[in-house]
Symmetry: C3
C-alpha cells in the first residue's frame, strides 16, 4: 500500500466526479446515492434490461449489490456486468446475504462465472460462501467461521482474482499478494442499515478514477470506517441512530486528504 497514492485519490475525486452506475437493493438505494454524492461522485441507478448496457457506456464504475435480487434484476446485472467488462470499467460486487439461501449462493457463483469482477466487498461469511465455504449465515449479518479474516481475504482475492474487502471490527483488504488492515470503525456502523452497501459505492467512486483498484478499495473502505468513527465522536448525549445516520453522511462529505491522513489507522 502506498499512502501517497490514496492521498492523490482524495485530491482528484471531486474534480473527476466519477459516474457510478448501481444495480442495487431497494432498502439502501437512497443511502448509496447520497454516499456517492457525498464523496464527490455521481450516482445512476437504472435497472431496466433495455438500457443498462447503454447506461454503463456513460459510467466510470459499476456496483452490483445482491441485497434484493430477483430473476429480472439478476438478468440486468449480468448484462450490465458484461457491458462493463467490455468497456473496461471496474465492477464492484457486494454479495449481500450470499450463503444465507441456496438461491443467493448459486446466483453469486453464476454471476462470477459470467462477469469478471474486479473488487468484492462483503462481510466474512459472505466472502467465505463465495469461495465455497459453509458458514452459519444469519440473514444478511455476519455469522461465525473457522478461518481468520486475514487468511480468508488473501485466499478469496487469489481464488477469485479480485481485490477483496472484508468489512468488520477490523477491515481487511487484500489483492491476493499483500493485505492491509484498517483499525478505524465503530460498532454503531452495524446498528444502521446500509453502511456495507455505501462502502461498495465509495470504493466504486475511487475505482472510477484509477486503475489501482487495491488503493481504491483501501480508500473507500477506510472512508467509511473513519467517517463512522468520527460521526460517533460527534454525537451528544441522547443522540441515537437517527442522528448518527445524518452525521455519518456529514462525515463522508467532509472527508478529504487531511482528515483521512490524520485519522486513518492501519494495523
Amino acid at each position: 500500500m502506498n499512502k501517497d497514492v490514496i492521498i492523490g485519490l482524495f485530491s482528484n475525486i471531486k474534480g473527476h466526479g466519477p459516474l457510478v452506475h448501481h444495480l442495487t437493493n431497494n432498502v439502501t438505494i437512497n443511502d448509496c446515492a447520497n454516499a456517492t454524492l457525498a464523496i464527490g461522485g455521481s450516482p445512476v441507478m437504472s435497472t431496466s434490461i433495455e438500457e443498462v448496457a447503454d447506461m454503463v457506456q456513460l459510467a466510470d464504475a459499476l456496483v452490483i449489490n445482491f441485497g434484493t435480487i430477483d430473476d429480472q434484476m439478476y438478468e440486468a446485472m449480468v448484462i450490465a456486468g458484461q457491458a462493463a467488462n467490455t468497456k473496461g470499467i471496474p465492477v464492484i460486487f457486494d454479495p449481500v446475504g450470499v450463503g444465507a439461501t441456496p438461491f443467493r449462493t448459486e446466483r453469486a457463483s453464476n454471476f462470477l462465472n459470467k462477469v469478471k469482477v474486479n473488487i468484492i466487498r462483503g462481510n466474512a461469511t459472505e466472502v467465505y460462501a463465495l469461495i465455497g465455504g459453509k458458514a452459519i449465515t444469519r440473514g444478511v449479518d455476519a455469522g461465525e467461521l473457522s478461518i481468520s479474516k486475514e487468511k480468508l481475504a488473501l485466499e478469496a482475492a487469489d481464488k477469485l482474482q479480485a481485490v477483496t474487502v472484508i468489512s468488520g471490527e477490523t477491515d481487511v483488504i487484500s489483492n491476493g499478494i499483500s493485505s492491509v488492515q484498517i483499525e478505524n470503525g465503530d460498532i454503531w456502523l452495524t446498528r444502521i442499515t446500509g453502511t456495507g452497501c455505501m462502502t461498495a459505492s465509495l470504493i466504486a467512486c475511487f475505482a472510477g478514477i484509477t486503475d489501482d483498484w487495491f488503493s481504491a478499495a483501501i480508500a473507500g473502505m477506510s472512508v467509511m470506517s473513519l467517517a463512522g468513527e468520527n460521526a460517533k465522536n460527534s454525537l451528544q448525549a441522547n443522540d441515537g441512530i437517527g442522528t448518527y445516520r445524518s452525521k455519518l453522511m456529514d462525515e463522508i462529505f467532509l472527508m478529504n486528504e487531511a482528515v483521512w491522513e490524520k485519522g486513518v489507522r492501519f494495523k
Copy 2:
C-alpha cells in the same frame, strides 16, 4: 395486560436480536430496516419467490406490508406467509390502503384465506375494510367510519382470530377478549411517512421473542407512540419533520424498560 411481561420483553430483546423478515413496500423499507435495528432486531427484506421460503427458515417473525404490492410481490407474500405458518413463527400483517381500491381489498381477503395471520396493524378504515366494512378511505390515510375504534378492534380480533392493533390518536390493541388503549403519541407521527409501517416492524421484533403476541403488540405499538411523543418534546424552535424523523429514530433506539415504564400511559 401484564406490565411486567412487557418490561421483560424490553430486557430481552437486545440479547435475542430477533431476525425479522419483511415483504414490504418500497416507500418506507429503509425506515423499517432501521426501526428494526433501533429496537434491537435484525432486518431481512428479500422478496424473490425463489428464496423467501428459505429466508423465513432463518427468521423469528415475518412482516407482510401491502403498501406497494403487485402480482409478483403478492405471490411471494403468500409463499413466505405459508412458510411462516409451517415453521410456527408469527405473521404480522399491515393492510396498507386496504379499502382504497378493489384490488387491495380482494388481495387482503385472499391473503387472509391462505395465510394464518397472528397480528394485524392498521388504521381504523383499513381494519374496518378487512372485516367487510365499507368506509370512505382516502388513499393510505384513515377515513371516517361509524363504529368506535374500541369495538372495531375487539370485533376484528375476534373475527380474524388475530391480535388487532389500530393506530390513531388513541391506539387500541385487542386480542378479541380484552383490549388496551394507549394514550401516548403525537400528531406529527402522521406528518412523516412510515410510522405505521415501522410500528409493524417493532411489533414483529417483540413477537419474535415471545409467544404472547398480545403483549408483543402492546409493546411495539407503545414504543412508537411514546417515541413519537418524546421526539416531539425534544425538538427546538424551527425544527420541522426532517429533524423529527431523525429524533424519532433516536427515541426508538433509546427506548428501554425504564423509559417505557416512566412514559407509557394506558387509558
Copy 3:
C-alpha cells in the same frame, strides 16, 4: 405571474390536503412522500397496473417520474396518466435521465403521445431531449447545450403545450407565452439526491388545488429553491449533506406565505 395567487395557494394547501399519486423511482420515493407531507399534501405511491386507475380516481394530481422505469412501470404510467386525463386532474411529468439512453428518450416521446402532460419539470438537458434536441447528457445530471434556458423553457412549453419548469442555478418556468425566473437556490441542492424529484411532488401538491398550473409550478419550484437556500443558511460548521437533507425537509415544512413572500427573489 400574480404573486397574490401564489400566496393564496400557500393559504389553502394545508386545508385542502391534496392527494398526490406518484409513479416514481425507487431511489427517492421516500423523499417524495415526505416532501408531499411537508408541504401539506398526502402521498400515494402504488404502481400495480391492476389498481393505478382506481387510485387515480382518489387523487388530486399525478406525478410521473422516469427515474427507474422498466416495461412494467411504464405500462402502469400510461394507464395512470390516461386515467388522470379522463378525470381531469393535472399530470406532472419528471423526465429523469431522458436523453441519456435511447430507451428513455423513446419512452418519453411515446408517453407524451399517449398522455396529455400538464406540467413538465426537468433539468435543461432533459427538457432539451424532450423537444428533440441532442445534448451531451451524463447520466441523470444536466449536460451542456447551446440554447439558453429561457428560450428552451418557452419553446418546450409551446411545443409540448405544458407548463415547463427547468431547474438550475436560476430556475425558469414558462407557460409558452410568458416566463418567470427564480433566483433562489443553493449548489447543495445538487449535492443530495432527490431534490428534483421532490420539486415535482411539491408542484403537484399545488397543482392539485388550482387550475392555474403556471402559478402552481412557480409555487412548487420556488418552495424548493428557497427552502434549499434557507436550509443552507441554517447549517453550522462541520455540517454536511446528512444534516442538510434533514434541514431541507424542515424548511419545506416551515414554508408558508410569510416565509415565501419575504424570501423569494424573481429575476
